[in-house]
């Protein structure tokens, strides 16, 4: 049974850059443009210059067999979501084609189809229909869905009175009981409490084992590794690596490394929400004793320095330390101000974050950064730096060689009488 489920041939998708950043145009612009059009040469409609076009996907030729569970990985803006959007028919490709065999179900964001005024019961039917289920199908699976979501009691309550956890559970339950031949999933497991996440993951595993084709996008490499057999690494809209999942993840980690060592101003995979009035130029973590940047010792003081291009008033910085499998370990956020913070009257273009005793287990980590000012995200970069933690002492205690997890806590033991 190695029928082809998805085959793409030189698939490409371009966006006109000007329009994308403006969100939507006004009639005036259209009228002005229409008035100017006779003076510009070029075909009808798409008269944009080449330089104004962003190719989110380019010449993508892939074959995915039925029953394969494929993980799509890559930086922000590498084209993962665009590919899923084309495969789920939300948007059309600009060039090439994709042949899709079988019913496609897409889980691009949990609960998008929910209407707050409708009750849980009404939303199950609405959302099921939105995901492509027939009414009869929803009816036969209704009890299963309700049971999976664990919310019999709230079925006739409007969804707007649900906690966010509850609506996510219900939405996932509906989606998980959809039975398409091809399932496209975008970053939906990062929701709900830990117990529900485990349950959702189990359900996904089940779906994968039933022989359905799954294309999965997540930043959480641990989940990808657990679920997928094949990995496709996208970079700037093209396939960089197509290999068994561990190979693809290794390749991705290597690209993170090279990206982090490049000049950060040359990175193009920046946060799409950013206002770009100031950009992160350099980010490093230093051990208190000096030495190589980005090599630190567990349990010792460390300083993370963020250099930006411009000083802006009300500048804040959020750093997230992420482990090598893409799972966030902790967030350091200057917005949560504390009395020990120091702010000079005329600060420059550097932000510093001090950690008194680095509570991380030895290994490789990365730092994602978001700089905010004037109530907007000004810049955001994933993997702005990669660093290695070397073994050390935490709370005057050596670190156990077989320690599990990412963090180590300073602690002490007593044997009371």
């Amino acid at each position: 049974m190695s029928d082809v489920a998805i085959q793409t041939h030189e698939l490409g998708k371009s966006y006109a850059l000007g329009v994308k950043s403006a969100g939507y145009g006004t009639l005036r612009e259209a009228i002005v443009e229409a008035a100017q059009r006779p003076f510009k040469r070029g075909g009808k409609g798409d008269g944009k210059r080449k330089g104004d076009t962003l190719w989110a996907l380019q010449d993508l030729s892939l074959t995915i067999s039925s029953g394969e569970v494929v993980g799509l990985i890559g930086h922000n803006g590498a084209g993962k979501s665009t590919l899923l959007k084309i495969l789920s028919r939300i948007t059309e490709p600009s060039t090439g084609y994709a042949d899709v065999t079988g019913r496609v179900g897409s889980l691009l964001e949990v609960g998008t189809g929910f209407h707050p005024e409708l009750t849980g019961r009404e939303n199950i039917f609405l959302n099921g229909a939105i995901l492509g289920m027939r009414k009869a199908e929803i009816r036969t699976r209704f009890d299963e869905i309700v049971e999976f979501a664990e919310m019999e009691r709230f079925l006739d309550t409007p969804v707007k009175r649900y906690s966010s956890g509850m609506s996510v559970r219900l939405a996932f339950a509906v989606a998980a009981h959809l039975e398409p031949e091809i399932l496209l999933v975008d970053e939906v497991l990062a929701v709900g409490d830990a117990a529900f996440q485990r349950k959702s993951l189990g359900k996904m595993n089940e779906v994968a084992k039933e022989g359905r084709t799954v294309v999965f996008v997540s930043h959480n490499l641990a989940i990808i590794q657990a679920l997928c057999t094949r990995g496709i690494l996208l970079e700037r809209g093209e396939v960089k690596t197509d290999a068994p999942i561990t190979g693809a993840i290794d390749s991705y980690l290597r690209t993170l490394e090279s990206a982090a060592s490049d000049d950060l101003l040359e990175r193009t995979d920046r946060d799409s929400r950013a206002y770009d009035e100031t950009l992160v130029r350099r980010l490093e973590i230093h051990d208190a004793s000096g030495g190589h940047p980005n090599v630190v010792v567990a349990g010792r003081p460390a300083t993370i320095t963020v250099d930006v291009t411009e000083h802006l008033p009300t500048m804040e910085c959020q750093l997230t330390i992420v482990n090598s499998l893409g799972q966030p370990v902790c967030t350091l956020d200057s917005e949560m101000s504390a009395p020990v913070d120091v702010r000079e009257a005329e600060p420059g273009t550097r932000l510093e974050c001090h950690v008194e005793s680095l509570p991380l287990l030895p290994g490789r980590y990365r730092i994602d950064v978001i700089v905010k000012a004037k109530r907007h995200i000004q810049d955001g970069l994933q993997a702005a730096a990669l660093f290695d933690v070397e073994p050390g002492m935490v709370g005057n205690r050596p670190i156990a060689a077989e320690a599990e997890g990412d963090v180590v806590l300073p602690h002490s033991w007593r044997l009371p009488a």
């Binding site: 028919r89 994709a98 899709v100 964001e109 998008t112 009816r139 409007p158």
Partner: protein
């Protein structure tokens, strides 16, 4: 029961996704049929949500035309003394306001339907025409309620509708076709240019006065009276008056022109919608 339990798994078919040109979706009946359950669910949602958490609920469907009737009767009937074909002015205006309210509400809500559902449009594939169409289908419920109230008032006033009342479904169809044509075009333009939001309320008010709601079209001299029926609401409004009050001559000339005009508007609106539909998700 057994039929319900049969697995709904048609043989897998291959769909080719590629850049398209010309008409592809709105005029593809197979595609619309495949998503018929969703069409029903969206219309049901629009109906259910319309008056949820309002104190008066479905009464709003009636209050709006009744309110206008009272104001119009005072101002245009009494103060301005506009002719009403010998009919009591309240009846004269209410019989026109019932289809007019259906039409104007459809325009107002329908033209915003794609933008207000942008989360759906940018995340999930379905034939987009269901959004404006769902608004219009939901409007039928309001129309039915206000129609019943209109008939009660007509009967209470001592008028008995004739067989002409059988023309009502045809008139509603003309109004719905025109509304779908206009809203599909406006909702599509709204995706790119939010100017539509500001134009629509203003345009609806203008449209009210170029339709014979507060005045009879008999006040207009020929050939302008006949020509004015290019506005589909002329035939609908005059037709409604004749059909529900059971008086006067059948304005078949107006209804005929308006029906043709509504079909042209519908075809043009859907054609425009179809051409731009493929790019909605990139702009909304």
């Amino acid at each position: 029961m057994l039929r319900d339990l049969e697995p709904v798994t048609p043989a897998p078919e291959t769909i080719r996704l590629q850049p398209t040109r010309g008409f592809s979706r709105v005029l593809a009946p197979r595609e619309l049929w495949r998503y018929r359950d969703l069409a029903g669910q969206i219309a049901l949602r629009d109906i259910t949500v319309r008056y949820r958490q309002t104190a008066l609920g479905g009464a709003w469907a009636v209050l709006q035309p009744i309110g206008f009737m009272v104001v119009f009767s005072l101002i245009f009937g009494n103060v301005a003394g506009i002719a009403s074909n010998g009919l009591p002015y309240p009846l004269f205006s209410l019989s026109a306001l019932v289809p007019w309210t259906f039409f104007s509400t459809a325009l107002l809500l329908g033209s915003d339907s794609l933008v207000s559902n942008s989360a759906l449009v940018s995340k999930i594939y379905f034939p987009r025409i269901f959004m404006p169409a769902g608004v219009i289908v939901a409007g039928f419920v309001d129309l039915a309620i206000s129609f019943v109230i209109l008939m009660i008032i007509v009967l209470a006033w001592g008028y008995a509708p004739s067989l002409a009342i059988l023309a009502v479904p045809l008139l509603v169809a003309i109004a719905a076709a025109a509304a779908l044509g206009v809203t599909s075009a406006l909702s599509a333009i709204n995706v790119r240019y939010r100017d539509v939001r500001y134009v629509v309320p203003f345009a609806i008010q203008m449209w009210l006065f170029i339709s014979p709601v507060v005045y009879p079209s008999s006040q207009i001299s020929e050939p302008w009276r006949t020509l004015s029926a290019i506005n589909p609401m002329v035939g609908v409004v005059e037709g409604f008056r004749w059909a529900t009050l059971g008086t006067g001559n059948a304005p078949w000339d107006l209804i005929g022109i308006s029906a043709l005009s509504a079909l042209v508007i519908l075809a043009a609106g859907l054609a425009y919608f179809d051409r731009v539909e493929r790019a909605f998700a990139d702009f909304v």
